[in-house]
């Protein structure tokens, strides 16, 4: 990646410090929950629903219970004896710890077999027999709006989010949120428009596939519980478990070591409530480790349908845009309603449009639940609006980059919410992707059965609000430093970034800093590690904590008549007469935010904007429809990179992940809602041979004025533009337009066949 020379003013920040934990990881010593074994521990194996929607008639556990070595078989009704209302969820309290009365998707947990030997638990789990009275089911997000099949009898908002309160107790609906935004007068503008374009786009349901599947262990006494879990949100887990049990938060301890990838799969509650309840019921430690296959039945990415309509002047100015988005949330809301709203308000794209109408719907269906997946809905939206943008530009005969330039949302201009753009380098990112693609140069278009094309796409994202991060920094008597944060390092190298920030403030080397992993008995509250928020939020909290500590140390230097640059160890030695003591700094960060009004309008929608653009060059085999990327260009505004090397791997990693979602990943369901490809043999993710011939990553020169040392989040940015850039390049190569993901060879071949049939 291109990067500026290392600054001497900030010797720690802006340096590609090797990851602090890399040695532990390559020598197999890094701590993961997967490796945890406690004395007397039971292993749980989940039995899952075989029907998509049904009333539970009976669950017969006798045969499973009779297997030698089985400790106990637990069903939803057993849990009710401990917790009368065992429902959880961040947006709705809709998900039972184990199914109660009804099942709502194939694969829903119905019972758990516990045994000291995991193989015994697995064998016995096959013997649990559940009978259902099948109910009509709904799978499609658009059909779910008017379907007679109703997934939940009554809606139960959690009370956390004000925009869900009006849904409380609502019956006979699958709509878990109807977000609306109105700006200007879209009807009049559409009516008077010179040209109107309307298109419809689809995305498919896919899965996160973290290399470490979900895993949790709980150990309990009568008055306390400790949960060791691979979670991105330990603070939320504590709050939710305390709420379910009716216990004070300080009796629930949540520990999170390293994660083997998260991508949004390990947020909120997944297995934590289940292992907690099982531990309390059995008075033994209980572990549940999902298999890779079981993850498909736990959390996924929303399939979606997006209808987008634009009014455009003949010379290529977009004057109005209508967006209608349906999000397929599956059987339980998880964080889907937040995806619907948070992503919803950027649905018109990074363009300056006076008249906007957005309707964004979260739908319940009888499929596995959908939640956050690296982009929080943004890749689904950018897929539609950047395909649409290219289609309009080509129809009007305007160069696609020039068309974007004419409509770009410039610094200081209001976005659809009315919030004015600030520190969003849209213009720079667009111009850099054009330059790195050599857009104005001649391009080899191939020939025969191998045609070449190129395309770009530009996306943006608002960071989740309103969220808090706290941190503490302890400076030890020898001048080394310990950072306490509940930010979770799931492979994105947040430990290293937080250490760099603390070290910069304390004027010590990054290598002198250690980071204590999330432990709610030890580390302070942090909303969650999600949505690219942590570098900004936790990073600001760590910076504040380190500033607090260094302020106290500077004060000591004065009091002790030491020079301003006296080594920290000397300060402690002089104060205590020997090596003793420590100085603790605290940081509490919450950025300003204004909630939107009933039209989705607010003067402060987000703490910061993320901007990402993708350019691709492709080769299309016209006889098979196979698409090969020969070049992939990722350009982003990440503010000032704290660690340039890690920024680069985040950009390329995100883009490669989205490449799989663009070209071939797809959860395939049959007519009864059964998943046909819940394995790595049949659900393929990109491997080394799928990588583009050349990958270019660039962070534009930028500053996030409110970020720690000018930095902001990067984890998701590389995903934004990949799918539409590929679709635009395929169109450029062979003149066919794909509007549904994935763009697998058969879809491309069929589109080519239809086109050549027409000609």
């Amino acid at each position: 990646m291109k990067r500026a020379g290392q600054s001497t003013e900030t010797p720690q920040v802006g340096r590609s410090v090797p990851r602090l934990e890399s040695w532990l990881k390559v020598t197999g010593r890094a701590e993961y929950v997967h490796n945890l074994r406690l004395p007397g521990m039971l292993y749980g194996k989940i039995c899952r629903s075989t029907v998509a929607h049904g009333r539970i008639k009976r669950i017969d556990v006798a045969a499973a219970q009779a297997v030698g070595g089985v400790y106990r078989v637990v069903t939803g009704e057993d849990i009710r004896k401990l917790i009368p209302e065992p429902y959880y969820g961040p947006a709705f309290h809709d998900q039972p710890v184990l199914a109660l009365e009804k099942v709502r998707y194939v694969g829903e947990p119905v019972a758990v077999v516990l045994a000291a030997d995991p193989h015994v638990a697995e064998e016995a789990a096959h013997l649990v027999v559940a009978e259902y009275e099948e109910l009509p089911a709904v799978y499609d997000e658009v059909e779910a709006v008017s379907s007679k099949a109703i997934v939940h009898d009554a809606l139960k908002p959690a009370g956390t989010f004000p925009d869900l309160k009006h849904l409380k107790g609502k019956t006979n609906t699958n709509v878990a949120l109807d977000f609306r935004l109105r700006r200007g007068d879209p009807d009049t503008a559409m009516g008077k428009a010179e040209r109107v374009f309307e298109h419809r786009f689809r995305t498919q349901q896919v899965m996160h596939t973290p290399l470490e599947p979900l895993v949790s262990v709980a150990e309990s006494t009568d008055s306390s519980i400790t949960i060791h879990t691979a979670s991105q949100s330990p603070s939320f887990v504590r709050i939710e478990i305390a709420r379910l049990l009716g216990w004070p938060e300080n009796r629930v301890r949540v520990r999170v070591p390293f994660l083997g990838g998260g991508f949004g799969a390990k947020l909120y509650i997944k297995l934590e409530a289940l292992v907690s309840v099982l531990s309390l019921l059995t008075r033994k430690p209980v572990k549940i480790s999902l298999t890779m296959e079981e993850q498909f039945f736990t959390i996924t990415k929303h399939a979606s349908t997006f209808r987008i309509k634009s009014a455009v002047t003949q010379d290529g100015r977009i004057v109005a845009r209508e967006c209608e988005v349906w999000w397929n949330g599956g059987a339980y809301a998880d964080i889907g309603p937040r995806v619907t709203q948070k992503s919803g308000f950027t649905a018109p794209g990074p363009y300056d449009i006076d008249n906007v109408r957005i309707d964004s719907y979260a739908l319940y269906t009888n499929l596995p639940p959908a939640g956050a997946l690296r982009g929080f809905g943004i890749p689904q939206l950018v897929w539609a609006y950047e395909s649409h943008t290219d289609m309009i530009a080509r129809e009007l005969g305007i160069d696609p980059i020039e068309f974007r330039r004419r409509n770009l949302l410039r610094e200081g201009r209001p976005q659809a919410t009315g919030t004015r753009m600030k520190d969003a380098a849209l213009e720079k990112v667009l111009e850099r992707v054009a330059a790195l693609m050599n857009w104005n140069d001649a391009f080899d278009r191939g020939g025969g059965t191998l045609r070449r094309g190129r395309g770009i796409a530009l996306g943006f994202k608002a960071c989740i609000a309103n969220t808090t991060s706290l941190a503490a920094v302890n400076v030890n008597a020898d001048g080394s430093c310990t950072v306490y944060t509940s930010c979770v390092d799931m492979g994105q190298a947040s430990d290293t970034a937080m250490a760099q920030i603390a070290a910069e403030v304390l004027r010590i080397p990054t290598e002198a800093v250690t980071v204590v992993h999330s432990d709610t008995d030890v580390t302070p509250f942090d909303m969650a590690t999600l949505g690219s928020r942590s570098l900004f939020h936790s990073g600001n909290a760590v910076k504040l904590a380190a500033e607090d500590a260094i302020g106290k140390i500077d004060q000591l230097r004065q009091e002790l008549h030491l020079p301003a640059d006296a080594p920290i160890a000397d300060v402690f030695k002089k104060k205590y007469g020997m090596r003793a003591g420590s100085v603790m700094g605290a940081g509490n960060f919450i950025p300003p935010y204004t909630p939107p009004d009933e039209n989705g309008q607010t003067d402060n929608a987000t703490p910061f904007w993320m901007v990402g653009a993708t350019g691709v060059e492709v080769e299309v085999d016209t006889e098979t429809g196979r698409v090969r990327l020969t070049r992939l260009v990722n350009v982003a505004d990440v503010g000032a990179p704290i660690n340039p090397r890690i920024v680069e791997t985040q950009l390329s990693g995100a883009a490669i992940m989205q490449l799989g979602f663009s070209l071939f990943e797809k959860m395939q369901f049959d007519a009864d809602g059964q998943l046909r490809n819940a394995s790595f043999a049949e659900y393929k993710i990109p491997g080394f041979h799928d990588l583009p011939g050349e990958i270019v990553n660039e962070a534009v020169v930028a500053q996030q004025s409110t970020g720690p040392f000018g930095g902001k989040g990067v984890g998701e940015t590389g995903t934004f533009g990949v799918s539409p850039a590929i679709a635009n390049a395929i169109h450029d190569a062979v003149g066919v337009r794909l509007t549904s993901l994935p763009m697998n060879p058969e879809a491309v071949f069929n589109a080519i066949s239809i086109k050549s049939g027409r000609e």
Binding site: E122, T624, F664, I685, P745, E746
Partner: protein, 276 residues
């Protein structure tokens, strides 16, 4: 996975007798077997390891003789194979991945009978034979005749493949091409092996059908005319017509027939260009 007994016999006779039991299975590399056991598809009570039978090794005496327990990686790296049967070396480079090739064996790859595997169609096109040991001694069988259907071979439960014999290539030119429709390392949607020996052309299709099959109609049309574009077009149509292809997660039947057309032509071209 259920607990099982692991037997490690030191002689073929012991192995054959240990296999003559309900729910006993031979274990060679185990790469496919373990996945099937983890998925609960197979639940054997006894696994009979073939590791101590001395069945590995590559010998060339005009013919190529490969011990059934030879790893795919050994075969891939054999200088003798590369010199005499380069099409095998080329095919192995994209067979699964190096971790699997290090462990999976030639005998296992042939006996498993998953139609998506690369070696069965290729070795069938090269006229390979397997030596099979059983309670009544040895027999030989063409690789082409080894398959009964999807995951079904024609071996009795107490029979084992001990060796594969591949005739000298002579002037035969051969190629194997495959096509994946998801990731590059996916199981193929179509795999085609072509061997051209003078006027005779052998064509074996894998992956798209429930077992590897000779495409007789395509072979007839190509006989003596492999260089004729018209014959090639006709053979491609005939191949798509004669193969019994059903849609699956790799693609619809119509699309896979298209892949058969395209890859038949590409494989014939590749075979004609092959250096040998």
């Amino acid at each position: 996975m259920t607990p099982f007994e692991l037997a490690e016999p030191g002689t073929l006779a012991q192995a054959v007798s240990l296999l003559d039991a309900e729910n006993a299975r031979p274990l060679s590399g185990g790469t496919a077997l373990m996945l099937m056991m983890k998925a609960g598809v197979l639940r054997p009570a006894r696994l009979v390891s073939l590791r101590k039978l001395g069945l590995d090794g590559i010998r060339v005496d005009g013919e190529l003789r490969i011990g059934a327990m030879t790893s795919l990686r050994e075969l891939e790296r054999s200088a003798q194979v590369k010199a005499g049967w380069p099409v095998i070396t080329r095919a192995l480079r994209t067979l699964s991945n190096v971790r699997v090739r290090n462990v999976a064996t030639v005998g296992g790859a042939l006996a498993h009978a998953d139609p998506h595997m690369d070696l069965p169609p290729l070795l069938a096109a090269l006229g390979a034979q397997v030596t099979i040991a059983g309670p009544r001694g040895e027999r030989r069988l063409a690789v082409e005749a080894l398959y009964a259907g999807y995951l079904e071979n024609t071996l009795a439960r107490d029979e084992l493949i001990t060796q594969v014999t591949i005739p000298s290539m002579g002037k035969t030119r051969a190629a194997y091409l495959k096509c994946t429709t998801r990731s590059a390392d996916d199981w193929p949607a179509v795999g085609i092996a072509v061997a051209i020996d003078g006027d005779e052309v052998r064509v074996v299709l894998g992956a798209a059908t429930d077992k590897p099959v000779r495409l007789a109609a395509a072979e007839r049309l190509l006989k003596g005319r492999a260089a004729d574009p018209k014959a090639l077009d006709e053979a491609a149509e005939a191949a798509a017509e004669e193969a019994s292809i059903e849609g699956d997660s790799h693609g619809s039947a119509a699309y896979k027939k298209q892949l058969v057309r395209v890859y038949l032509k590409r494989t014939v071209h590749e075979a004609r260009r092959a250096i040998h």
